[in-house]
Symmetry: C2
Subunit: 335 residues, 2 copies
DNA sequence: CCGGCCCTGTGGAACGTTCCAGGCTGTCGC
DNA sequence: GCGACAGCCTGGAACGTTCCACAGGGCCGG
């Protein structure tokens, strides 16, 4: 339980602590014999460099902090894969922390990361206020993933949610739908633009009168609540665009319980293209975002500030793509 | 980008660094006026204590490291919830790292955590060798979650996979099945005992001759491969116990593609009771493990060693429970 | 009025590293 | 034979904290 230090290694190898340091970080100008002696001593003692001490003197920890707002949402898993891979590739390690969708806990998680003096911060769909984000960005390069952000000093990478919302409506209209409703994502990342994309497209198609957006959330429960609400509307919509796949799952469950068949009675579209959704009761039509790439781009953005000294803000927007599967069909002739 | 230090705060507040330290960690014996002055100065400067420096001098970081073998497997999400909650409750923070199911990456992730001098380590279904686990345990209290482990100095918490495997067979036998096959989980955590539970139960029911275990893995792909293999066997089994839910999803997909109806033609049982599985094509019969509790127990085990100085090894085994849903039915009369 | 103690506050050492300035050898060129 | 220089190695300062020993002042009791 007692950690050997560089001094212990030095003593055992019969050299100075400086030499050990030189060997450990593979600096040049060390004789082969000393190198060997040090390495042997280190192995024998089970020496492991203390990153905290290292970070203190170099002012770099080589660690990137990642805040994941909701570990349960598969959207983040691929993003984290991308983050992790990019970080490692550039000699950094990613450390995750989560706030379980609770603002205060998220803020504390960010605090912990910042106190640890991570070199950069990736906030995946954070729920915290932009003031908190701005504050973080003041001490370390920070990028927000999954939502557009207008805070000074903060970069962001996200897909074009507005466009994605439009894509969905276009597809449904093409299939012949007019009464297309939307269960929106509340304060979730990207929820607003998805909704406005929906509304704009509806208007564009001359279906403004059929616009109907009911509240939901980016969780299963959100979809359940939204769909229940929707089922009380007088002429049932013939198609529903649900804010994300997770909530679409919930919505599908409600429809099933109500004996409403998808897509015969009603068409459903989600957003995110989660893998699990392919295996759902019925394969969901959805919108895909390049999650993995978003993760690696986020890291690239952090590194640009960190290593190249960029000071201007960047907002990277990636295009979403429609994935048509089995939950969308033309509407029933008449109801 | 320059982090203010305790000295900066001291200068601004007109006191000594020691006083600032006293105030920041809420030690007693500080006058109200000094406290206020320090707090104001800290706020004005945006001071944030440096955990690395703190950790260096107290030999505690108040951080628990968590290695998650596969972020994509929902099994871990609840476990992490439990870990996080328990950690926070005891004044620690959990930091996650992942190895993406690759042994070497996992080992590196553990290394990073150890170099950071986390106070304890929770390894969730690690893929690394027990030598690596033992090594980690030598420098810090370590508990393995999700698999039983026989390494000295390491605690573990897991469900009784052997019992779970038996539960599944009992259920199927009770429904009238005899040709019950198993797609096992390879080297996955708990895969071996689940398999031996299956085999023992088969023998117990006098169905030893029908034992048929084909290789799989704890991933969707594992289930796909296993089921494809199974479909080539001469008299098709009437029921299949798949090593975990994730692979059961894959297996169900294969059956669907082959035009085989579940549960009419064949019954399927998974393991883990993932939430998504309730919403799958057809609600999966599965075995539930108390994931959240496993997480909090893991933390408790770490803390027992850390704060109470326990030195004996503990192996906590939790009971699994069968969750009967829609993928199991009596076998077809004759085929 | 003095000794002691409590209360508040201070400086310095230590934690485990890195980095800098510099110190030996030994070789080479002239 | 001597200066220069390369190659290898060293001690000490610094990083931002905590903690310890101690200091000054006020107050109390005798």
């Amino acid at each position: 339980m007692k950690h050997p230090t560089i001094h212990d290694v030095a003593a055992r190898a019969g050299v100075s602590k400086s030499l050990v340091s030189l060997v450990m970080r593979e600096a040049g100008n060390v004789s082969e014999s000393s190198r060997r002696a040090v390495l042997d001593a280190a192995r024998a003692l089970g020496y492991r460099p203390n990153r905290a001490a290292q970070a203190l003197v170099r002012r770099r920890s080589q660690i990137l902090g990642v805040l994941v707002s909701d570990l349960h949402n598969p959207f983040f898993h691929d993003a984290v894969d991308g983050i992790d891979a990019a970080a490692v590739e550039h000699g950094y390690r990613a450390l995750l922390s989560t706030g379980h969708l609770v603002t205060k806990q998220e803020a504390q998680a960010i605090d912990t990361l910042l106190e640890l003096r991570v070199d950069g911060l990736v906030l995946a769909s954070p729920r915290v206020t932009s003031a908190t984000v701005a504050e973080a960005a003041q001490s370390v390069p920070t990028v927000v993933l999954g939502r557009s952000v207008r805070v000074d000093g903060v970069d962001s990478v996200h897909n074009d949610d507005r466009l994605g919302g439009g894509l969905v409506v276009d597809h449904l209209v093409e299939r012949g739908h007019e009464r297309i409703a939307h269960i929106h994502g509340g304060k979730g990342a990207g929820a607003r633009p998805r909704r406005s994309g929906y509304e704009a497209a509806m208007n564009r198609h001359g279906l403004g009168e059929h616009i109907l957006a009911v509240p939901g959330a980016f969780t299963e429960q959100g979809g359940v609540d939204g769909m229940r609400r929707l089922l009380t509307t007088k002429p049932l919509p013939t198609a529903v665009f649900v804010a994300n796949d997770l909530s679409a799952m919930g919505a599908l469950g409600v429809l099933d319980d109500a004996g409403i068949t998808v897509p015969d009675d009603i068409s459903v579209v989600g957003y995110d293209n989660l893998r699990a959704v392919e295996y759902s009761r019925i394969s969901l039509t959805t919108v895909d975002q390049p999650r993995y790439d978003m993760g690696s781009i986020a890291v690239a953005l952090v590194l640009e500030r960190l290593e190249e000294g960029r000071r201007t803000d960047r907002d990277v927007v990636l295009p979403p793509t429609l994935v048509v599967r089995d939950t969308t069909a033309p509407p029933r002739r008449r109801r």
